[in-house]
């Protein structure tokens, strides 16, 4: 039962990320130069991301079906790998500015990334659980990384308590599903005709556990506090990475276990509607940029859940028909990750030492002080709002299309209403940046410097946002391929 070389190939990205995590921890006492670790982390996250291609080329189930390396996994490995690469770029200057230890941060980031990779590739529930724990536990620590800050500690504590509670749900759900079907392997589960209350209950618990991770209402309450307290680059990571990975696992369960889709349709319908409204209505009254973006990320989870409702409704007609709905989720997660990374990076940089300048008022007249930054942030916000020529527009469009395809007109209309509510608070930020005069202090302080790493993040996310907003073809062609999931 020793693992074959091919098995290792299929989990190569996760191996690399974990190895670099260990390596960073090992080198930490010996190397004093901070830049060394940044370069090492950049190299490591990039290496893992590139290795995703190797894993893809040698695709197939690994470790007797515990993991699966297919197009779907490839997509998510690229996504989480790129996210962690960009987070490293943005975090370097941040950690220097805040005078925080650097090596541990990268080590935790590596473990979190590896966990997300496992989550995306898992085809067995306990493996998924391990992935979830790897990413969650690292996330708890990262959230509290600014030890001196009360808010950061509060964030970590909240995240930890509620997160472990949710994980317990997830684990209990696995146990029940195992009891009902006699297996934790998703593909075997698909074959067993085990049904009944036990399976339903188990699936419901799994849904609750994952619902927490993706911040779906009514399990979203932690999000604003955690997002606000965590160091901003970590917030960027939270909003892009773990969320995508948890969604990936959900999609995987749908794609392999038809029984799940049968029970989950209404659950997703309600979750989607609740989450959209919870996020958007909450965001309306926010005056802190991090909280505003946190609520916005809840709202966006709601939009993605609309596509999930479409998936569950279509999947009963065969996976062929559900393909556009899957594609909608994948594309949305990509466009969303780009935008949120960009936006949070700007927020992080403008926040200044100790993250003081996070209030909306601090953005007054930004367009005059730093026209390029204001323009970039506007583009990101417009992408979140779903305006054309940004990736967010296509993301939203594909979800609309999936919803209408599945005859979920009422849900599509709810989403439309929510988009307009969302427009208000995104516009408010743009209005403040462009149509209000800067405060005397801010004007006197002069422009906030943007180091090269941060600029690189902005450039990449900006180009990606516009590129996929004008020419989404390569991505769409890839995620619409019939062999997205290998069985």
């Amino acid at each position: 039962m020793l693992p074959q070389a091919i098995d290792l190939h299929r989990v190569l990205p996760e191996l690399i990320w974990s190895a670099f995590g260990v390596l960073v921890m090992f080198l930490q006492p010996f190397v004093r130069r901070r830049q060394f670790f940044t370069f090492l982390a950049l190299f490591g996250s990039l290496a893992g991301t590139v290795a995703a291609a190797t894993a893809f080329v040698h695709g197939g189930p690994g470790f007797h079906g515990l993991v699966q390396s297919d197009s779907f996994t490839f997509f998510f490995r690229l996504l989480v790998g790129s996210v962690s690469f960009l987070v490293v770029l943005a975090a370097g200057p941040y950690l220097d500015r805040e005078e925080l230890p650097i090596a541990e941060f990268y080590a935790l980031l590596f473990f979190a990334t590896a966990g997300m990779g496992v989550l995306a590739s898992a085809q067995e529930l306990l493996t998924a659980f391990i992935g979830l724990e790897m990413s969650s536990i690292s996330s708890y620590v990262l959230a509290g990384y600014r030890r001196d800050s009360l808010k950061s500690s509060e964030s970590a504590m909240k995240y930890f308590l509620l997160g472990s509670f949710a994980t317990a749900f997830f684990l209990y759900g696995i146990a029940l599903v195992y009891g009902a079907t006699g297996t934790t392997l998703l593909d075997k589960m698909a074959l067993s005709d085990g049904a009944g209350t036990l399976l339903k209950l188990g699936l419901a618990l799994i849904l609750i556990g994952l619902g927490f991770k993706v911040a779906a209402a009514p399990f979203q309450v932690w999000t604003p506090d955690v997002y606000e307290g965590a160091p901003t680059p970590v917030t960027a990571l939270f909003s892009a990475g773990p969320k995508a990975a948890a969604f990936a696992l959900l999609l995987r369960i749908f794609a392999t276990v038809p029984a799940a889709t049968k029970y989950w349709f209404w659950a997703f319908w309600v979750l989607a509607a609740l989450t959209m409204f919870a996020g958007n209505l909450g965001a309306l009254v926010q005056t802190n940029m991090k909280r505003l973006l946190a609520y916005s990320s809840i709202a966006h989870a709601g939009y993605i859940l609309v596509a999930f409702a479409a998936v569950t409704s279509m999947a009963q007609g065969g996976s062929e028909e559900a393909a556009p709905a899957y594609a909608a989720v994948l594309f949305y997660l990509l466009s969303y990750a780009l935008v949120k990374l960009g936006a949070f990076t700007i927020v992080s940089q403008l926040g200044g030492t100790g993250e003081k300048n996070l209030s909306l008022d601090d953005y007054a007249g930004l367009s005059e002080r730093q026209p390029f930054v204001a323009a970039m942030l506007s583009i990101y916000l417009l992408s979140l709002l779903g305006l054309p020529v940004t990736a967010g527009f296509f993301g939203k469009f594909y979800i609309f299309k999936a919803a209408v395809n599945s005859h979920l007109i009422s849900l599509a209309v709810l989403m439309a209403i929510n988009s307009v509510i969302g427009a208000y608070y995104y516009l408010r930020v743009i209005v403040v940046m462009y149509m209000r005069e800067p405060s005397a202090e801010a004007a006197a302080a002069g422009p906030v410097p943007f180091p090269i790493g941060v600029n690189a993040v902005l450039l990449i996310t900006f180009v990606g946002t516009i590129l996929f907003g004008v020419y989404p073809n390569p991505v769409i062609n890839f995620i619409l391929r019939p062999s997205l999931f290998a069985h």
Partner: protein, 530 residues
Amino acid sequence: MPSGGHLLSVLIFFPAVGAAALMMLRGDDHRFIRSIAMLVAAAEFLFSLLLLRGVPIGASGYQLEEFAKWIPAPPIHYHLGVDGISMFLVLLTTFLTPISVLASWHSIQHRVKVFFVVLLLLEVGVVGVFLSLDLFLFFLFWELMLIPMAFLIGIWGHERRVYAAVKFVLYTMAGSILMLVGIVWLYNATGTFDLPTIQQMLANGQLVLEPRTEMLLFLAFFVAFAVKVPVFPLHTWLPDAHVEAPTAGSVMLAGVLLKLGTYGMLRFCLPLFPEASHRAARWVAVLAIIGIIYGALVSLVQPNLKKLVAYSSVSHLGFVVLGIFAFHNISMQGAVFQMLAHGVSTGALFLLVGMLFDRRHTFEISEFGGLSTPMPKLAAFFLFVALSSLGLPMLNGFVGEFLILLGTYQRHWGWAAWAALGVILSACYLLWSYQRVFFGDITREKNRTLPDVSVRESWVLATMAIVILWMGVGSPFITRRTAAAAQTVIDQVEPQWAYEAAAHAKAKAHGNNVSSYAAHTMTVERLGNR
């Protein structure tokens, strides 16, 4: 590829190139920036004149089409085309943009570069909307022009500019996002976003929408357009947006953006959902008539000159909507003509109001009075434009209103009778406000020394006046070119009507009574040959 080459693409993207070039410039040489912006806008206008050659008179269907694959799944195409109606609306846009540039010459002193960049981007969006034949592409441009307009209002507007800008965006977006759902729904039913293809499928019975679905789709599109027009009771954003916008913003808003709504009704609501349009026509007409009268009455009591002009737009656009939903060739042509006429006249009115504001920094009518003494030229121009707006024969406003009323009368005389009230009221509010502003004694000392129009301003106003006069006396130049396109819309919305018409014509050939349709055709011919 048709012989038209890439004229339409050039028309859409030339201003974008211009805007990009402007962005490269240094921000402090205002004169140079203005000149470049003017150059771009003027060149764009000259390019657009080529459309007149590209769209033959009497040709039905779309001309100068451009077609390219863009996104494979779902199949979205870059499909452009122009017909008689959209051609003139594009011309209106490209004509008003350089006018707006000139109008902002001195009145915009703050962030000059960004202003002209935004103005040119607005032109990109608007021209794109008029030329798109793919629903998706249409929607894309439709949303795209929102942000430049919001910026125009929000950055360079007056005191409550931010409120007005946000209100404008939210209203429009609330309408348009439902339209997106409608567009996707339509795609699901047809498998394409291509407008001509969908029209063909409707014509040959490949696509049959059940009445309820059709009505919902109609509403999804109609509400988006109705917000833009604006149709009563969705008009409340308009006065705010107009009053707060800078002059150029008002000119573009009244001149072009409102027409996007009525254009959308013509291009999408009627041809795509004929049955639903018929069923809704009565209610739309009621709203339009309420709009006509309500807009006029509010104008009558407005103490704010700019708001007065804004509400007069509600009234005038009510005519256009009425003309469209009367489903009559003459009223349809009248609606198109009225869109153009209103664009020029109201654009000119906003210019004049803007000039008064530049001198006195107020829109309050009570602050003016007796202005014809210090500014005889401005007073003369104002009178001319006001007369055109109230529909004096020989000037442009008359042609549109007359054709609308004539056509509407043939179908529903009651509608026409109510709408005619609006004509009378518009004379009242325009002449009365003119009297209060320009005649009588000078009540404010400041007004005694106001400078008359400058050379630049008089060039702008003279151009507008010439166009107004030319449209009034040379209307066949336009109606001949829009006739075929208007008839196409009628045919699409009313195949049955066309059928009856043929029967009537046959009856006429047999020597029976001259049918009403024959009378219409003759009127059209008379108008055409005038």
